[in-house]
Amino acid sequence: MNRKKFITKSGLALGGGLLAPYILPSGRLFAKSGTVKADHVVLVMFAGGVRQQESVLGRYLEDSQGVSGAAGNIMPNLFEGNAPNKKIAYGTSVAGKPNGSEPIPKLLTQTMEKTGLLFPEMRAQSAGHYVGLNTLLTGNPGTNQGLKVRPAYPTIFEYLRKHAGFKATDTWFIGNGIGNSTPLLNSSNHKDYGLAYGGNMFAAPVTFSGAGKEVLGNAKTYSRTDLEPMYFMKNFLDQSFALTKDQISSVSNTDEEKTQIKDFIKSVFTKQQAGQLAMPPVTDSGDAINIMYAAEVLREFKPKMLAVNISGVDSCHSNFTGYLQSLHRADHITAWLWQHIQNNIPEMSGNTVFIVAPECGRNLNPNPILDQNDWVAYDHSDANALRVWGLMLGKSVPNIRIGGEAQPVGRLTDIVPTIADIFGVLDDVNACGLIDPLARSLYQRI
């Protein structure tokens, strides 16, 4: 080799060596085309089907049960408005007083509405739970989405991992159980994305249940010296078997990430045993437990993107009192999570955008099922079930209220482009052509 060739080849090798670590999984060299608005996003999927009337409109029993003078706001952390002063049944129960007559004390000094961006009248694209959850995570109306299958279109986790170069432990979905296909929401089965780009997931109330402790809690803590040969031998065996892309059946964490997740699971069991888990002041629901574990994941991994779902309000199919209590508690635990981030996770405090939205609404007219208070119940299938709201607060989020009952603004499919916008990859996500053509970043709706 002559000197000229040697210098050319050495230069190319050096250049390649320097650039290679910066090439994203998508093959792109530069990560983001837009401005990054915040380093973290937490999405609370305020699911289960929430009526506008009892939530953002603050109508309590006036619109639902025809009780005159019983309007009022039962979500004091999220929305502005005075609490009802008649027939209080949504709170906690205190001995000697009627059930649910003690409202949970407000956690936040200022409501989320007052400090953030509220879209009080948005449109859901489906009146169903699973399609609604899909919509929140994929930005696609999901009209052809089946149950018991992964989302047909890429989720926000996959978009972020592919186009923003996030690692697996940067993206988390915390599901509130293993029913209703919830554990499938961390990744789509789309051929260009899929589990290779999927987010990590815990159906936390199951992972950290008594059964979870029995199955996982006694696992050995291997040292790095122990793990190295195991992974070395496993990687040899896997290379020899060589799965094709469509056979990949798990999220792609690195060996270090896997070790961190395993250590985390064990640490949660230890904290559980010692009663050291941080939890909302009122933790009498499955939703509260799930939010509590979501907070643990936030504390440990400081993920770029975490979505957590709750669904207690779905009791509204047959128990309106239970629905009101769940709604009041959902407000409480959502506020607690926001407060927990601000007060206990310095890496995320002041650098997080918090988004809250239901996956669908509920009907205008009731079904005939009466509960213990003789209040009628509501399903979700009519036009009223497509009425929802959306809230954003946090870093650089303007304090405005956009739209109103007579002037709907925004769609649930807007949530994904909004998150993509926050991380500076909106153009990339739009260019894929896989989200709702009518969807816009909520920043563009202002």
Binding site: F173, I178, F202, S209, V215, A219, K220, M233
Partner: protein, 167 residues
């Protein structure tokens, strides 16, 4: 010969022919020169993924040499399903098993006394096939050169490998 005698002879002949046709015949032994052999899996033929229940049940039986109870299987299945990274879930399950008594695995000393046999038996135990020469050479060299490698580590690598997820 009158007609009557002829008729009798005719019926006798017919009777004898019928007797010959329906009577026992000597059994013919037909062989196709097939030799008996042990049939083992070929990794290239493993295309079906074990479902959660199959994986857990097979793993449990492999390690404890007894079947898992339906209740335990149900609980384990739910917990594994609740974790996004199935590798993490499986590794923790396995490590949990290794931390219990009743598990049937060879001693480390036995592995080191005959590494060749250990490697072949491990491939048969987990993959239901013989290792290739390359695979045998890799494990023999790796185990020989790394004194810290234990049976538990080798078994963990096999049980968490992708091939073990398929049949």
């Amino acid at each position: 010969m009158n007609t009557r005698n002829f008729s009798q002879i005719y019926w006798w002949i017919l009777f004898l022919l019928a007797l010959g046709h329906f009577s026992c015949t000597k059994e013919r032994i037909i062989g196709y020169n097939v030799e008996s052999s042990t049939v083992l899996e070929d990794k290239s033929k493993k295309t079906k993924k074990k479902n959660d229940a199959e994986f857990i049940s097979i793993l449990y039986t492999n390690l404890y040499q007894t079947a898992i109870s339906p209740n335990q299987l149900y609980k384990t299945q739910n917990v594994l399903y609740s974790i996004g990274d199935q590798d993490v879930a499986n590794e923790m399950l396995l490590s949990n098993y290794f931390n219990t008594s009743g598990i049937t695995i060879p001693k480390d000393a036995l592995m080191r006394s005959d590494i060749d046999a250990f490697v072949v038996n491990t491939y048969k135990r987990f993959y239901l096939r013989y290792p290739s020469e390359g695979e045998k050479a890799f494990f023999k060299q790796y185990i020989t050169n790394n004194a810290a490698v234990t049976v538990e580590m080798v078994y963990t690598a096999f049980a968490c490998s992708e091939e073990y997820q398929y049949y």
